[in-house]
Symmetry: C2
């Protein structure tokens, strides 16, 4: 998992912000993330505007800490949808 | 503009929440909204998870009220990406 992910508490979560030079690149990134979600059945909260995407991965409901599966999704996203292809 | 849009203040904005029965339907809706954004050069804030999408249309920066172009985007979204095709 890259250091671009910020681990935060209350509630426990991982967050990463991406910025894009074009809306087309942003859409390609969103498609890539959605493909992973469908494949793995894991759906983070995603927000976006014209040139940014924020991804928030929450811990399981009721849990006070992040689990391996949350970190794994972040890692897979880093591997399969790298910022290099989204700039 | 449908009554599903909520007009809120501080900051002035229009909001609408959509719910979806499938992630595929959700993705089709996001694609539809993105097509309109690209066509019209108008980019609202969009957030989504597994089964919901929230769209927030802010007033122009520094403005205390919504303008026609913000309401027009909501209206166009209602017309071109109706909930009927997203359920």
């Amino acid at each position: 998992m890259s250091q671009n992910w910020q681990e935060r508490s209350r509630p426990p979560r991982l967050e990463r912000r991406y910025e894009f030079e074009s809306y087309q690149a942003l859409r390609e990134f969103l498609d890539c993330a959605a493909e992973i979600s469908e494949r793995d059945g894991f759906y983070p909260d995603i927000s976006f505007g014209r040139d940014y995407v924020n991804i928030t991965i929450h811990a399981d409901e009721g849990s006070q800490s992040l689990a391996d599966k949350q970190r794994r999704y972040a890692q897979i996203l880093d591997e399969l949808c790298p910022p290099a292809i989204t700039a």
